[in-house]
Each structure stands twice: as C-alpha cells, then as structure tokens.
C-alpha cells in the first residue's frame, strides 16, 4: 500500500520507466584494499523491455543486479523502482516493495526442497497473504510445461524443470520487474536456450519487464537491449537486431 502511495507522491518519472538508476557506485572494503565493483552506472529500464547485462567475470554484473533489486545498497547513487526511491527504504518497506514489484530468478534456482512445484510457485502469494488465481496458476504452469510436475519436489525435477518452477514463481505475482542473474548458468546450453526462450516469451506475452545477466551470446537475439559492463562501468550498448557475432565481438574487445 505504502509503496503505491509513495509512487504517487514521487518525483515525476517517465511513465514507462520500471527502473531508473543514477550514478551507482559500489565500493567493497576500505582503504588500499577497497574494490570498486561499480563506478558510476546509469541505467533505465522501460516497461515491457528485456534488458540483458553482459560483461567479463568480475565486471560488476551481479553487484548491479543486487543493487537494482534492493538486495544490496550502493555506496552512492539512487535507484527508483516503479517511481520509488529504494536505496533509503527500511527493511519493512523494502519487503513490501519486493512483494509487489520485484521478481527473482536465481542461478541456483533456490527452490524450497520441502515444497512441491506448485507450492513453490505459489509461495510469493502465500507469503504476501494473497489468494492465488487458479486460472493464472494453470496458465503459468502450462506455459512452463510443468503441468505434469505439479506435485514433484525439487529433488525429483531436472535442473531445467527446477529453473522453470523458479521462473513461474517469479512471475506468479506479476512483478513490475523481474531480475535474473545468470538463469542459465547452471544448465547445459540446450536447456539454457529453452529457459531463455521462456523468458523472452513471458516478456512478449505478459509484457514482463526483465533484467537478466547472462554469458550466452544467444541472448543477443533474445534481448531488446544488451548492456556491456567492464570494470564497473557500462561501456557499450547493443540494440535489437544485433547478432550473436556482434555480441561476441564486443565481448572479446572487453576481455
């Protein structure tokens, strides 16, 4: 509730900006051993857009995602999600923001082992104390190809199936924005491809705004926009229509 009110009172933002980050700096440690994981990153994500973040290992991709999602605080800079400045929010406001606006897909799935697939998917709703919409659940599970896996526990599912459960879980509450940090990082390339397709599909079908970190050059054909991070700075941006070869070219230039 509070979140919605704040967004009403908030500063005017472009109507279609789901995420708006300015001048993000994240420093780990202090003094001579300090590491600057981000050094002044600006990023805007429009509603309904699928943004891929790429870059060499250690370039600050995960750090950026964590800060955008409110899991970590920047050393300086601001992040607005759905118009709300989140870097100063306290824990309970952040929690409410997460319930309403943020979805996550993790590299290691992070499913709860004691719950079956359906229960895992419904978890965000039950945490928020909301009633699940049966049709929506059926549609999601159908889309993810999990119809026959509803009552399987994570231990009884393949990696790809587990990640599909995780995606369904992140979509179930129709968040303003979905963050995915290397969602295919723990899968073979074929399964990973299927997962990328599903993400693209949810963007197209539901207009699900998504920010995704990936190492897959194929992401190029999937994403609307690709941001390249190197040494904590955005160094390049590719738009729709670029090819895997373009991506590889940029990547090798950064390495």
């Amino acid at each position: 509730m509070a979140v919605r009110e704040e967004s009403k009172d908030g500063v005017a933002v472009p109507a279609n900006a789901a995420v708006e980050a300015r001048d993000l700096v994240r420093r780990y440690g202090e003094g001579s051993t300090a590491v600057e994981a981000l050094r002044g990153v600006d990023i805007d994500v429009r509603s309904g857009e699928l943004v891929a973040v790429m870059g060499p290992s250690g370039s600050g991709k995960s750090t950026l995602m964590h800060i955008l999602a409110g899991l970590d605080k920047p050393t300086s800079g601001t992040v607005k999600i759905a118009g709300t400045e989140i870097t100063e929010l306290d824990d309970s406001h952040l929690t409410r923001l997460r319930r309403k606006h943020i979805g996550f897909v993790f590299q290691f799935f992070n499913l709860l082992p004691m719950l079956d697939a359906e229960e895992n998917v419904l978890l965000p709703l039950s945490i928020a104390g909301e009633k699940p919409d049966k049709a929506w659940l059926d549609e999601l599970l159908g889309k993810m190809g999990l119809d026959k896996r509803r009552d399987h526990r994570p231990a009884e599912l393949s990696g790809g199936e587990q990640q599909r459960v995780a995606i369904a879980r992140s979509l179930v509450s129709k968040p303003t924005i979905l963050f995915a940090d290397e969602p295919t990082g723990n899968l073979d390339s074929k399964t990973g491809g299927e997962i990328l397709d599903l993400i693209r599909d949810s963007v197209d079908t539901y207009g699900q705004t998504t920010v995704m970190v990936t190492h897959e050059p194929r992401a190029a054909s999937t994403a609307d926009r690709i941001l390249f991070l190197a040494d904590g700075e955005i160094v390049q941006e590719l738009h729709e229509g670029s090819t895997a070869a373009d991506v590889l070219a940029v990547m090798s230039s950064l390495r």
Binding site: S62, H66, A69, L71, D72, D91, S92, T95, R96, R98, R99, I102, F104, F106, Q107, F108, N110, L112, P113, M114, L115, E119, L123, P124, S126, I127, A128, R169, S173, D181
Partner: protein, 853 residues
C-alpha cells in the same frame, strides 16, 4: 509461509526428534513427579477416610508440644479410665479404646521383615467384640485371640510368604516372641500402607506387650443420634488429660492427610527441582539445535526474504516450528511421565522410601503445568535463534558463504559473560550469607544465581573453547592421527556451537560435582569426628543404622563374658527455650566409650548428672547464654517440665555431636519417657575387636533382630551409608540432565555431519576410510564432552566451596577419585553420543556427498 515451516519440520524429522527429546525428558520428569505424588496423596487420603468411616470423633495421645510426624517418639498413652467417662457422656453412642505402637515382624531367618523404611506398625483389636470401629478387614482367618495369636497385613503375608496357622516372630519391647498367625488383614481397603508391616493383637495382649496395662493410645467414638461430631468433640474436651486430644474423625483424617501431604510436598518440590534442571539443560540443547538449523537454512530463509517475507514472518515461522516441537514434545513427555512416575517410585523404593499407591492419579493440573512449562521453555529457547533468523539478509540468497551478521553486542560477549558470572555469584552469596532472608528468598537467590552462573559460563565458553579444544584435543591427535587432527579442528571451527553443546553437559557435571564434593567433605568430617569420639570396640545400632532400638538389646549384651562396658545413648524429643529439641541421656560409663572435649566439666560429668543434672554443647550454651549452674527447663512429651541444672559444656568435633541438644542422666530419662530407647550403644570388650568377641556379641543379639553389632570401623561405614544413599539418589536424578545434554551432543554432531556432507565426501574421495571418518566424529564428540567436563567440574567445585562455606561446612575435600571417574564418564558419554552421528557419517555415499547441495 507457515507451510514452509511445517513442511520443513516434517522434512527434518530426525532433527526435530532429537531437539524434542530434551523437552520430552524434562516434561516427563515434571508430569511424573506430579503423578507420583498425587497418586500417593490420593492413596493416603483414601486410607484415612476409610479408616475413620464409622467413627465420629477420635481421642489420641498428645505430645505436650505438639505431635510431630517425623518424631521418633510415639505420643504418650493416657489412662484407660477416660474410656468409661467418655462412654457416660450423653452424646456418645459407642466408644472403644485401642493400643497403637511399633513392633517389627521377624521372619523365618530370624531377621526383621523390612518395610523398606516404612514403619512397623502394631494395633489392637477387640477380637470378641463389636468391630464397628475396626479399620481393618479380614482377608482370611480370624481376629487374633489371646496371648499367642497375631494378625498380619496382606502385603507382608504375600511378600514374606506367610499363611494363617503359621508362626511369625515379633520384636516389641523385649526379645523376639513367636505368635501364631490367626488372620490376614487389609487396612483402609489397601493391602499395604506404603510397605509398612502390621502386627495386630488382641487388645489385652497389646496392652501387655507394650507395657500399657491400664492405658490407651486412642479412643474411637460414635455419636448418639442428633449429636454432631463438633458437639461431640466439645463434650469430650473437658474430660481430657493434658496428654490427650480429641478431633472429629474428619478432622483426624484431614490432619493425618496434612501430615503426609507436608512430607509429600517436600518430595514433590525436590523432584520438580530436578525436572527444572533438566528443562534448563534442555533449553541449551534446543537453542543450540535451532541455532545450527537456522545457520544451515540461511539461504532458504534469505530466499523467502527475496520472495517478500518480512522479518516478522521469519520470526514467527521459526517460533511456529518451535511451538510444534514444544507441543508434540510436551504431550509425549506428559504421557512418558506416567511411566516415569513408576520409575521414580522404583527409585524411591530402592533407596528405602516405600509409599502407598492406589490407582494412578492424572490431574488436570499435571496436564496444564506440564504442557505450559514444556511449550514455554521451548519457545523461550527458540527466541534467540528466531531473532537471529530475522537478521538473515535477503542477499544471502545469492551470495555464497554469506554468514549471519554478528550482533552489535557480540564483541562485548566475553565482558558480558564475566559480568553475568560476577553478578550471579554475588546473588548467590547474598542468598547464602546475608542474614534475615526467608528460606524462599534464599533458595530463589541461590537458584537464580546458580542458573545465571551457568549462563555466564556458557557465554564465556565461546572464548574458552579454542584453547580448551587445543589442549583437550591433543590426545585425540595422538591417538586418532589425521582423523583426530581433523576432529580437533572441527571442534574449534565453530566455537559458539561447541561451546553451547558443551555447556549443556557442563551444567549436569557441575551439579554432580557439587554434590560429590559436599558429600565427600561431609564424610571426611564425620569420619574424623567418629575417630576422635568413639573409643569403644563395638557399636550396637538398629539394623537400618538409624532407628532407635530397644534398651533390652543393650541389656542383653551386658551379660556377654568379657563385656567391660555396654553403655547406650538414649534419645527422645523435648522442648526447651521455646524450641523442640533432641534430648539424649547417658550414664557414667559412657565416658569410657565416648570421649569429647569439655569446655566446662570433664569426662566425669556424665557420671555426675544424677537426677537433675544436664550438659549441653558449646554452641547450644552460647545460643541460650548458659553457663555451668544455669537452670535448664526441659518439657518432656508427657507435658511435665524437668527443672535441671547445667553441669557441663562440651565441645563436639566439627563432624557431629554424639549427644543431642540437652543430655540428662539415663536414670531420669527412663523415669520420664514412656518406652525409652537407645539411639546407639557402645561396647568395650576385653581383648578388643576379635572374631570370638564378635561372635559372642552377635549370638547375644540372637533374639533382637532389630539390632546389630558393628565394629567401630563398620559403624563409621554404616553411618556414612546414609550419605551414600542420598548421594546416589541425587546422582540418579541428575543423570537425567546429563542424558539430555548427551542428546545435545548427538544433535550437534548429526547436524554437523549433515552440514559437512560435501566436505566428508571430499575427504572420502581423497582416501579417508569409513573407519577414519567415524573416528573423526568420535573424537570430536569426546573433545566436546571433555570441554563440558573441563567447564563443569571447576564450576561445581567453586559452587561447592560457596555452599559449603554457607552451611558452615567443616571440611572441604576434593574427591579426586570421583572427579576422575566423572571425566572418564564424560569421555564415555562422548563416545556414546557419537555412535549415531558417526554411523551416519560413515555411511555417506561418496558420489552423492560430492553432488550434495
């Protein structure tokens, strides 16, 4: 969200069960205690109401200064003439007099048939007459008639295998006499009054046996129609001599119930205290187990946070988990208590306390207290881990190896621990030494102080674990090689965890050490005292070492050839300077067998007491400002006041005095006390202790199976056996807390094995054998147990020092042998606790372990 908590719990059954055990055992102790004492109370109350069912009022003898349930002396008898006067009252429909006394039954082997500490009762019945007041019912046979018949209780008849028509010995005032069993009886509908043996005689026979001709111990009265019991009592009252009192039957039953209940309440509180200790230890186990589980679930909790769970939900979900464990464990404990009540009773019977039992009484109060306490304790223990769980940041869902943020106060933990220890020791000192506190305040201060000491040491333990583990783990590295080396490292890896686990054991060991140190000091001083006081060759005591014995047995020894001196110490109750006291009495020849130091007077003083002399101890004289020549007035049970003059003041050794508060001459004592008895007697034999002398004395006691002869050193041992019995009882009761702490170790290890699955897989993959894995777990367990011992034993010794000082404990000796046994026991406990976790670790499938996530 709560589904997560519940399903999670269901998915971790073993862990949940191991956690619950701590509560189950503690709650079982509480519910068992209540069930036991309630059952005994109900049995007594049934007996008393049945006994007085047909009676409206009862006249009994009265000790001038009030009857005392724990007294050695029976109330004095009153003149039988009262019966006639009572019968003549208009409100009386019927009245009958009776005799009640103590008499041991003697079995075929010539030994006393033991009631396991329960009294050996004797009653009279009016065999030919009206049985309306008779509380007994015949099971078989008939009422005893004449000088040679007896009835006995069903319990004794069945346990000692006696039947109607057989002959059984009785020892009352004189030597054993044989009687023919005429009948077998029940009292108040139960076959046994707590194992008490019963000898029932014809009324005139009872009077003769107990030397109560022309006297009565009780009168049962039925009111005439229209007279209420209260009216009856007020009619009778004016007729009574000062040594008798009258109560309505209801009042009498109530009084009797109250006397037994008072005693049972002490047992109840005593046992509850151990239940409390067990639960206290249990909180450590639960808090630790939950703490570990939560640390292991960091990622899961963080994921929940990223999915929108707030701190409150996390807190509640952990508490919910604890609540479920608490409820299930408490209910299990509640019912286990029913079984434990039987076990506790068996323990008491074993230690010589046999109490009557009827149908098991399971009161609502028992259920409520057991459940509430069990659940609250679990929740309380879960609070800290639950709060820690709320501090898990959402980012831990994605960051490998994220650790829980430490509390802001963590770096002050050592200081806080020292502060806690200091504060609690101060509180204990207040409870122990500050005068003017009530017993409740004192016990509260000591109890809370001791609990806080344990808490403080547990808090400090974290700091102490690494150095302790380094030292105590050294043998493991020597014996266990690489496995031992790893075990020591593992014990030091998470000091907090090892500390909490060891702390639970520390509490039990500290308490065990406390009692053993106190008992050892008590024994040493007692033994020193006996050595310095007693100069006789032999001691004559009751077979149970503490009951008073008939004077006749001592007299019998006087005729043994070579017995130079046989001198007894009489004992009875009295009242002086407004307080109930122990009165003892001696004759002049006691000086030859008991030697004490005299502050005023000499070894000749006991012989110079004559009719009005008395001597007291130094402390008693000081307390009442007495000096030689001071008048001392002692009231005896008959109500008579003896006006005595102080003739001497002796200084008893620290370990205890051979005499009571006030000692008078045997001649005066025998004149004033009905049925005088010896506490003990000492014998000086020509030739000292020899086999021949022992045989002669034992033979002379042939007819007195309630008495036995012991050499001075046997006597010392026998007297100490009381301390040993109490000590063993305490050990048994404290072992419950130790068992709980063992489950704590099992728990920690199981969780640790689980947590290190991958690591164990790696160790196996690089060539560690199953045996080595098991050995590693075992050594870790032993190191943890040894840390518990290293903390607990010193704490126990320090507590003993404090408590010992407070109760003016004379000697402080450290029972090194016993403490070494405790350390060995701790090692064994560690081994025992490691069995299950080591098996699990050994069974790990290398491949699966490596894939484990």
């Amino acid at each position: 969200m709560f589904l997560v908590a519940l399903k999670g719990l269901a998915g971790r059954k073993l862990r949940a069960v191991l956690t619950a055990v701590a509560i189950v055992l503690g709650v079982a102790m509480i519910s068992g205690t209540y069930v036991l004492t309630d059952t005994i109370k109900a049995a007594f109350s049934t007996v008393f109401t049945t006994v007085y069912a047909k009676t409206d009022a009862v006249v009994t003898g009265k000790v001038a200064f009030g009857n005392n349930a724990n007294s050695n002396n029976l109330p004095p008898s009153f003149s039988a003439s009262l019966l006639g006067k009572v019968r003549n009252l208009p409100g009386v429909a019927a009245a009958d007099g009776g005799i009640g006394d103590l008499a041991h039954l003697v079995g075929r082997d010539g030994k006393v048939i033991s009631g396991h500490g329960a009294p050996a009762l004797a009653f009279s019945v009016h065999s030919g007459g009206d049985q309306r007041f008779n509380p007994l019912t015949l099971v078989s046979g008939a009422w005893p008639v004449g000088a040679h018949e007896i009835d006995i209780d069903e319990h004794t008849a069945s346990t000692a295998h006696y039947e109607v028509g057989q002959s059984i010995g009785v020892i009352a005032r004189g030597p054993t006499t044989k009687y023919r069993i005429a009948g077998i009886v029940k009292i108040g509908g139960v076959s046994s009054l707590g194992g008490a043996t019963m000898a029932i005689f014809d009324f005139p026979t009872a009077q003769r046996i107990f030397h109560k001709e022309g006297k009565l111990d009780s009168i049962d009265i039925a009111a005439a129609n229209g007279t209420s019991p209260a009216q009856l009592v007020s009619e009778i009252k004016p007729l009574l001599p000062p040594t008798a009192e009258v109560r309505t039957a209801q009042g009498q039953a109530k009084q009797a119930t109250k006397d037994t209940n008072g005693f049972l309440s002490i047992i109840n509180d005593f046992l509850l205290a151990f239940g409390g200790v067990a639960l206290f230890v249990g909180t450590f186990v639960i808090a630790n187990t939950l703490g570990i589980t939560i640390a292991q679930r960091t990622r899961e909790l963080a994921t929940l946070r990223t999915l929108g769970a707030n701190r409150r939900q996390v807190l509640l979900s952990v508490l919910l988990e604890a609540l479920v464990i608490g409820i299930v464990a408490s209910i299990t404990g509640l019912f286990l208590g029913l079984a434990l009540a039987k076990g506790l009773n068996a323990v008491f019977v074993h230690f010589g306390l046999n109490l009557p039992q009827a149908g098991t009484v399971f009161k609502t109060r028992t259920i409520v207290v057991a459940l509430v306490v069990g659940i609250l304790v679990t929740l309380l223990a879960a609070l800290r881990p639950a709060i820690r769980a709320t501090r898990v940041p959402p980012i831990s869902a994605v960051r490998e190896g994220a650790v829980l943020p430490v509390s802001r106060f963590a770096r002050f933990s050592a200081q806080a621990a020292l502060l806690t220890i200091g504060g609690s020791v101060a509180l204990m000192l207040v409870g122990l030494f500050v005068s003017g506190l009530s017993t409740t305040q004192r016990l509260l201060a000591i109890g809370v102080g001791a609990a806080a000491v344990f808490l403080g040491v547990a808090m400090l333990a974290k700091t102490l674990v690494p150095p302790l583990a380094r030292v105590l783990g050294w043998p493991a590295t020597e014996i266990g090689g690489a496995a031992g080396e790893l075990a020591r490292g593992n014990a030091m890896r998470n000091p907090q965890r090892t500390a909490s686990t060891a702390s639970a054991l520390m509490i039990g060991l500290a308490l065990v050490t406390l009692v053993s140190v106190l008992a050892s000091g008590l024994k040493t001083t007692f033994s020193d005292a006996v050595n310095s006081i007693f100069r006789g060759d032999y001691a004559l005591t009751a077979t149970d070492n503490f009951s008073p014995i008939s004077v006749a047995s001592a007299t019998a020894l006087k005729n043994v050839p070579g017995a130079n001196v046989v001198s007894g110490v009489r004992a009875g109750d009295g009242k002086a300077f407004g307080h109930r006291i122990n009165v003892t009495a001696v004759s002049g020849d006691i000086a030859k067998v008991i030697v004490v130091k005299w502050q005023d007077g000499s070894q000749a003083t006991p012989g110079a007491l004559r009719n009005d002399g008395a001597f007291v101890s130094k402390d008693y004289a000081k307390k009442h400002h007495l000096s030689v020549g001071s008048p001392v007035a002692v009231e005896v049970p008959s109500g008579k006041r003896l006006h005595l003059v102080l003739r001497g003041i002796f200084a008893p050794p620290k370990g205890g005095s051979p005499y009571g508060d006030v000692t008078i001459s045997t001649q005066r004592f025998d004149a004033e006390y009905q049925n005088p008895q010896n506490l003990y007697a000492f014998v000086d034999m020509a030739g000292g202790v020899t086999a021949a002398n022992t045989a002669k004395l034992t033979k002379a006691l042939g007819n007195f199976p309630d008495a036995k002869i012991a050499t001075a050193s046997q006597f010392k041992k026998n007297q100490e056996s009381g301390i040993d019995t109490l000590l063993n009882l305490l050990y048994v009761l404290l072992s419950l807390s130790i068992v709980i702490s063992l489950f704590g170790i099992v728990n920690t290890l199981v969780l640790t094995v689980f947590e290190r699955t991958r690591e164990l897989g790696m160790l196996r993959a690089i060539g560690m054998t199953r045996r080595q894995v098991r050995r590693m777990i075992r050594h870790e367990s032993i190191v943890t147990a040894l840390i518990g011992a290293a903390l607990g034993i010193p704490v126990g010794v320090v507590l003993a020092l404090m408590v010992g000082r407070a109760i003016k404990y004379p000697a402080f000796t450290i029972p090194v042998g016993t403490l070494v046994v405790f350390v060995i026991a701790a090692i064994l406990a560690g081994l025992l606790a490691a069995i299950l976790p080591a098996r699990r670790a050994g069974k790990l499938n290398v491949l699966q372990a490596l894939q484990y996530e």
